[in-house]
């Protein structure tokens, strides 16, 4: 977890050592900015290194006929198996299909935004369900013991087996396909939230729960003023897992759904017509990955805001 070193949001107008505090805050802000910049720089370097590795491997294979010291390369390096980085990026700015003016990059982003929306709805629905379950489990340990094995089992059933069933049920019920896809995303999202939220709800030390008892706090006050705030850092850890899971769920859901929309659908189509344009599939996968990153980053921003006043965790 990230250490939150942000200073408190004390208004600078407050009396006393406000000058030094303000100065401390500026330098802390500068430090935070510097660390964020260096994080960005490292990310860029990693990207460039990956691209260079890809191109270097390809160039080596092309020069040696995919053989080195008598050993065959594990992956062939011809343009069909490994389109060049330039070709992949180039494909992004070419028309998506013959006869259309929309370029592939824009088309992929549009489809990705469909997926992102399904994943986001799924994440919200799954997280609410997950949090509600955690609160029920906290108060009713027998229910927790009885239900938990089933929840674990639900997560080990292969998604590819469940997704088509959910899509069919949704279709029978007359719901639009994206609802089923959202349902599948939610199904993958709730579990990490339940597990982490439950741990967080149980995290307050005895001295804090007993203090609440000593001031005669009610059940609800105990939950809202102690257990839930204490659970927040845990909740965000669960949400981050749930966010990636919900994107996976949405993409796999799209594969089974007859929507014809979403980045999952696009990947399926491009894989089907792979030989016509291998670089298109790679471009789509790239955009899908970026989608996931954006999703998690949004969550990170939310977390940073929610935990801005905490020192640790």
């Amino acid at each position: 977890m990230t250490a939150m070193k942000n200073p408190p949001l004390a208004p600078t107008s407050s009396e006393g050592p406000s000058v030094t505090r303000a100065a401390g805050r500026t330098s802390a802000k500068a430090a935070a900015l510097r660390s964020r910049l260096s994080t960005g720089a490292i990310g860029a370097v990693v990207l460039v290194l990956l691209a260079a590795l890809w191109e270097g491997y390809k160039a080596l294979g092309q020069a040696t006929g995919d053989r080195l010291l008598g050993l065959r390369f594990p992956v062939a390096t011809d343009d069909l198996s490994m389109p060049g980085v330039g070709a992949i990026l180039g494909a992004l700015v070419e028309p998506a299909r013959r006869g259309t003016s929309t370029i592939l990059g824009v088309y992929l982003l549009e489809e990705a935004s469909v997926t992102l929306r399904e994943a986001a709805y799924g994440l919200v629905a799954g997280s609410l369900l997950g949090l509600a379950l955690a609160i029920v489990f906290l108060h009713l340990p027998p229910v927790s013991r009885g239900l938990m094995p089933w929840l674990v089992a639900s997560q080990t059933v292969p998604l590819v087996a469940i997704a088509p069933m959910v899509v069919i049920w949704g279709g029978k019920a007359g719901l639009p396909p994206w609802v089923a896809v959202t349902g599948i995303a939610a199904y993958l999202a709730f579990f990490p939230v339940t597990i982490n939220a439950l741990r967080g709800l149980k995290s307050p030390p005895k001295v804090q729960t007993e203090f609440m008892r000593s001031v005669a706090a009610g059940r609800r006050q105990l939950l809202f003023w102690l257990r839930l705030p204490a659970a927040l850092p845990y909740l965000f850890a669960g949400l981050r897992l749930a966010a990636t899971a919900s994107v996976v769920g949405a993409i796999v859901g799209e594969l089974s759904a007859g929507t014809g929309r979403g980045i999952g659908r696009v990947i399926l189509t491009f894989a089907y017509y792979y030989s016509n344009g291998p670089e298109k599939l790679y471009a789509a996968v790239l955009v899908a990955a970026v989608t996931g990153i954006v999703f998690v980053q949004v969550l990170n921003l939310l977390e940073r805001f929610a935990l801005r006043n905490r020192h640790t965790r």
Binding site: P8, Q208, F211, V215, A216, A230, N309, R310
Partner: protein, 264 residues
Amino acid sequence: MPESPIIRIDGVTKQFNPGTDRSVTALADIDLTIAEGEFVSLLGPSGCGKSTLLRIMADLTPPTAGSVSLNGKSPATARRDRDYGMVFQQAGLFEWRSVQRNVELPLQVAGVAKQERRAKTAAMLDLVRLPEFARHFPWQLSGGMQQRVAIARALSADPKILFMDEPLGALDEMNREHLQGELLRIWSDTRTTVVFVTHSITEAVFLSSRIVVMSPRPGRIAASIDVDLPYPRTAETRTLPAFFDKITEVREALHGMTVAEDAA
């Protein structure tokens, strides 16, 4: 004691895990009365049941036998009426709340309106001499400052009784002596009845109007020693011959019981 008892403990016994092979008799047949305005320390070796006795008074754990009355009520009723405040060995502040919001928590639980809460909190922070830290967060304070916030928090709902379980135990010697002085000042400002758990003889003698010496296995009251050193007590008090005499007296009471136990 000239005044009326605010705490009355009659024949309290506490057994943990009764009927099992891990059964422990933590307290055996405790009788104790504490008058309004007293500063009573519970003193004794580790494991003699000081915390257990305090927790029974505070309705954090039930006695196995016997009865307790607090301010004329059962501990459960007294707790619900917020007749007492509690300070633990760890400050246990809520790290997501500012100092001010920590201190006002008991008032918030009691449903006191915001304006009144803020005024009360400000007065409490003045009392513990931390007014300029209202908007700080617990992790920005030293251990001693956090403990002062915990004291302010315990006193914010104006309890008649203050329970403290080794509140200064985690502090270094200098901080500790400083806070002992502060605590006496707060006690004389608020006229709260204090029950204070410690295993430091000097601390007990410096602070208390009366010291209840406890003996272990099972926990019993071995002696009740009045400390007649005049208040206000200051750093100078620590240098008085009477101070050392009292320390010796308490030490002998503690010691005598160890000897008696060895003989038994």
